[in-house]
Structure formats: structure tokens, C-alpha cells
Assembly symmetry: C2
């Protein structure tokens, strides 16, 4: 088998250092393992509901942009790879959640449905475009994350030691 037909594993790892500042603002430095010397400086804040100052988008806005943007990246990257011409691409994402609130207790939240509406200006056939979308679904890091259950490990520093919580 020649090298040209060999699958390879690509590891993609990011670290996010978040520091709480202001009333509800978070400063977040994100570093990609492939680009360690050029971290991205991001921020989130909240509006009146959480007593924040709206100095930055809320976390959910970053999330919706990340999912929509990640899918769009795959569509354009794979259009090149599959030699499918694209003149323009527009994607409208819809994201719904619910929280059960209580005056005296923390609320409990849950997702209530996500959708992506895709508009491609292209001379390709509908079959080619459907093949492109199928490839984008398989390639999209965030779609592949959202469609399966993920454990999140939590550790807290207590008395100088990391403890699973």
C-alpha cells in the first residue's frame, strides 16, 4: 500500500484558561496544541438576568457561533477536496434550551433542539451537494461532539490537592 492511501490520526487539543473578573465577565485564553505561541484572547459576560455588565457576548452566543462556523469550515474545506464548486455559503443555526427555575434554588437546564439551514450557491448537482453535506457532518468536530454523550471530568483544588468532584 502506498503512502497516498494511508489513513493518519490527527490529534487536536485545546486548553482554555478562564479567569473571573468584573461582576460576571470571564477572560478566556485559548491555546491550540498546533499553535502554542499564538493563543486567542476571548471573553464572555452576562446581561441583567445574571447581574452582568454585557461587556462581551454570553457563552451561549460563542457556542452557537462555534457550531455554525465549524460546520461551515467543513463545507468549504471538503468542497475543495471533493472538487465541488461553491460560489457562496450561508448557514442559519437555531439553538434552543430550557431551564427550570425556582425562586430559592439554582435552575436546572437542558437542550431542546438544534438545527442548521444551509444555502449554497453552486453549479453542482443536488446529489453532489448532499454528498458534500454528509461529509461535512462526519468531519465537523462539533457536530460529532454534540451527537454523542460526552463525559466531562471535573477536578477542584482543595487544600492544595486536586480532587475529583
Amino acid at each position: 500500500m502506498s503512502n497516498e492511501n494511508v489513513e493518519q490520526i490527527l490529534d487536536v487539543q485545546l486548553t482554555c484558561e478562564g479567569q473571573a473578573t468584573g461582576k460576571m465577565r470571564n477572560e478566556l485564553k485559548v491555546t491550540g496544541s498546533w499553535n502554542p505561541d499564538h493563543p486567542w484572547q476571548l471573553a464572555t459576560d452576562e446581561g441583567p438576568f445574571h447581574g452582568g455588565d454585557s461587556t462581551a457576548p454570553p457563552p451561549l452566543a460563542l457556542f452557537c457561533a462555534s457550531v455554525t462556523g465549524c460546520f461551515m469550515t467543513q463545507v468549504r474545506a471538503f468542497a475543495k477536496k471533493l472538487r465541488i464548486p461553491i460560489a457562496s455559503l450561508k448557514v442559519t443555526g437555531s439553538f434552543k434550551w430550557q431551564a427550570v427555575t425556582h425562586p430559592q434554588r439554582p435552575y436546572v437546564s437542558s437542550p431542546r433542539g438544534f438545527g442548521l439551514d444551509i444555502e449554497i450557491d453552486s453549479s453542482a448537482t443536488p446529489e453532489q451537494l448532499k454528498e458534500l453535506i454528509a461529509a461535512a457532518k462526519r468531519g465537523c468536530f462539533l457536530e460529532q461532539t454534540l451527537i454523542r454523550p460526552n463525559a466531562i471530568d471535573h477536578r477542584m483544588k482543595l487544600d492544595g490537592r486536586w480532587v475529583e468532584v
Copy 2:
């Protein structure tokens, strides 16, 4: 039962309008249903791997910031609600994925583990802090999204009609 003990359902809905520009840049306007007149203007881009110009963070950087920031919001919001004092809060998120790449075919990606390391400067007891973290897990919109499988509905406009794809 008095009004003070009644649970209520809070609907949280966001729309993200993404337009592909440049080589791999996406302009993303995110609107929250609770704040329709003040959308957030965000952008993603890619680096050399995808042939982008690195004019904005990649989608995965927004995602990591959103998950870390959302969890941090819950910790501070619920600390107030549970009357647990917090002098400072730092959270370091770790996010891993893999892609199986092939020279001639689109890659296929999958998540490989997420973690949050939490450092709280507080006069509260370890038990109070553990209670706070448990409440933050239940309240965090994005943690509650990631720990369960989510369907994503895709529609594409073909010949002027929306078609499920």
C-alpha cells in the same frame, strides 16, 4: 402553594446567521430571543491547515471558551443564590479531539475527552464548594448539552425549497 415555591420554565433560544467570506472566514451574527435588538457580531477563521488567513479564532477556540465560560457563569450565579462566598475563580478547560485523515478523502472527526479544573478562593467549607460545583453542573446549559446525545436537523435549500438532508 405560594408563588414563592413555584417552578417556572425559562425558554432560551438563539439564532446564528453565518455568511462565508474570504478564504475560510465566517461572519456570524448571533441573536438571543431575550435581546433581539442587540445581536452579537462574531467571526471565525482558520489557519494554514485549512488554507485560511487566521483573521479570527477558529471555531474550536470559541467552543472551548463557551464551555469554560458557561460553567464559570453558573458557579458565580449559584454562589450568590446559595450564599457561598467566592473571592476568586479560575477554571482551566482541556478539550481533545481526533480526526482520521486521508490524502484523497474528507477526514472524519470524534471527541476524545473534556475536563475542567476548578480553583476557587473561598472561606466556604469543602462540602459547600462541592455542593456549588454539583449545582453548576446541573445548571450549565453547555455541560447539560454535552453529556447527552443531541440530534441536529439539517435542511438545504434546493431549487427554492427546503429539503431535509
